[in-house]
């Protein structure tokens, strides 16, 4: 079972760190799970232009294939203008219909203010469910203040929520596996 984490930020390292923590937590719960982190900062993903995937550059093909073939995913997003970044939306625009059917898609948000708490609920979640992702009841919101000077998440409550998210994601995905993809 392969869990792919996506970090949707092109700036800074907090979001990718947060996603990485979810991947680590999942691995700790079930060491048989294979994990991979796709940090969009590391790839030149092209804007969707309406052609088949083979017309895009190698980074785009790699990222789109890794995400669309994952068994389940955790999506990490920072908040840009009260929503998700264009770069992350672009990744979803690349996805075929129903791509996340029978796949668990967890959410983790990093933000500079608690006032952005509901953005993942109102902006990100509807997109994931439209793509037929199963969004767990647990989610994680990480305030910038929860990181220390070494970019580690030091708030124990947040770390606990990360563990709970990973745990629920694995439980749900195991329950879903083998379900008819059609």
């Amino acid at each position: 079972m392969k869990l792919v984490g996506v970090s949707g930020s092109l700036i800074g390292s907090k979001t990718s760190k947060a996603v990485f923590e979810v991947l680590q937590a999942a691995k700790a719960i079930d060491p048989s799970i294979e994990i991979e982190l796709i940090d969009l900062k590391d790839y030149e993903v092209e804007f969707v232009k309406g052609t088949p995937l083979s017309y895009y550059n190698n980074d785009t093909v790699k990222v789109v294939n890794t995400v669309s073939t994952a068994d389940f995913l955790v999506i990490g997003t920072p908040i840009y203008q009260a929503s998700i970044p264009g770069a992350l939306k672009n990744l979803f625009d690349h996805m075929p219909m129903d791509v996340f059917k029978n796949k668990v898609t967890g959410m983790i948000t990093t933000a500079g203010t608690d006032k952005h708490f509901l953005v993942q609920e109102f902006q990100l979640k509807p997109i994931l469910t439209y793509l037929k992702g199963v969004v767990p009841s647990a989610n994680v919101f990480v305030h910038n203040n929860d990181f220390n000077e070494n970019n580690e998440i030091t708030n124990p409550e947040v770390n606990n929520r990360i563990r709970l998210l990973a745990d629920e994601m694995i439980f749900l995905q195991k329950s879903l596996s083998g379900r008819d993809k059609n």
Partner: protein, 352 residues
């Protein structure tokens, strides 16, 4: 506080800072020459010293409408032209500079000025300088953290052994000359977020907080986050100075101050940021709770004392030369500061 050359028994320090902006006077459309602007900045520092102002600093911005890119060179001229006033940067963009060179420069300025130099290190709100000076913008955060750490290390240790990601390692490197009293006060410049302030707290270094607008209360929260983080990391917040910086303009009456300042702050924002200063927001600056210090001298005294009560800070830096403000107005402001504002602030904040 002695380590940072601050004597709290004298009360809140008052300083002036300039970003070295070079903007046409919106009332005349004319812009003075770059040479004149630089000379006026040096002269301004001299007048500030004569008025009894505690601190004067110059920043670097590598873009259109600015003139003090080589801010340490300007500071060196100010060091020679003055005798007592403390001088510093506001800020030095350490991310795109070699900390060794920065330290050599400021240690030299410290010797020229007889022990008056300080560094306020920041990250820049604009990004053009990354390309201009040969750095990669995607390293924005990492560059600052690494170079700021190295700067602090050079300040603490005469023989430096260091390695990092963005320059060659230092092996038994002796960074010379040393400042007059062995070390320099080095502040971390912080924008308007608590997470940025907390980074100054983690490092246990003085914080210079930009407080450019809005109610003073939001800055109180940021300062508290800084002090709490410092405390939790084994530093004594009462030994760490906090400074705030913000817009300033004084005149005989509040209305006159608002009328005189508005075209400059608005035009300055348009040219350097793209969006002007909304009139409604500026109208609110007259309120005591607004962190912008504009008004009659009495109003400004009340505002600064209100901020002092909220923040418990050690230094306030005023920016009054923004947007092409003519030199005679700046001189008038220095006079008001020296004769009315400083005596009142010292009277109320000095420890008896």
């Amino acid at each position: 506080m002695e380590k940072y050359r601050i004597d709290t028994s004298k009360g809140l320090e008052f300083g002036l800072y300039t970003l070295g902006d070079h903007i046409p006077d919106p009332k005349t459309g004319k812009r003075i020459s770059a040479q004149q602007r630089i000379k006026e900045i040096i002269e301004l520092a001299q007048h500030a010293e004569q008025a009894g102002i505690d601190f004067f600093s110059v920043g670097e911005s590598h873009q259109d409408y600015f003139v003090t890119q080589a801010h340490s060179v300007v500071l060196s001229a100010i060091a020679q032209a003055t005798k007592n006033i403390k001088i510093g940067s506001s800020s030095t963009i350490i991310s795109t500079s070699d900390p060794v060179r920065v330290y050599e420069d400021f240690a030299t300025i410290d010797l020229i000025s007889d022990g008056r130099a300080e560094i306020i290190a920041g990250r820049a709100s604009r990004v053009g300088l990354y390309h201009l000076l040969g750095y990669n913008l995607s390293d924005y955060e990492a560059l600052f953290e690494e170079k700021f750490d190295l700067l602090l290390k050079i300040n603490e240790e005469e023989i430096v052994n260091w390695s990092g990601n963005y320059r060659e390692p230092l092996k038994n490197a002796e960074i010379l000359p040393r400042p007059k009293n062995g070390s320099l006060p080095i502040w971390r410049a912080v924008g308007g977020t608590s997470s940025s302030a907390m980074k100054a707290g983690y490092a246990g270094v003085p914080m210079m907080l930009a407080a450019l607008g809005g109610p003073a209360g939001i800055y109180k929260n940021i300062i508290e986050a800084y002090r709490e983080t410092a405390r939790n990391n084994g530093f004594d917040p009462s030994a760490l100075p906090v400074g705030t910086t913000g817009f300033f303009f004084a005149a005989e009456t509040s209305q006159e101050a608002m009328r005189e300042m508005y075209p400059y702050i608005n035009e300055g924002m348009v040219l350097t940021n793209g969006q002007g200063f909304p009139k409604q927001a500026f109208a609110q600056a007259a309120d005591k709770r607004s962190v912008i210090n504009v008004g009659s001298s009495q109003q400004i005294i009340e505002k600064i004392l209100y901020q002092y009560e909220l923040f418990g800070h050690q230094r306030y830096l005023a920016q009054m030369d923004f947007g092409g403000m003519p030199f005679d107005r700046l001189m008038k402001n220095i006079e008001i500061i020296g004769t009315e504002i400083l005596p009142a602030i010292r009277k109320y904040t000095a420890k008896k």
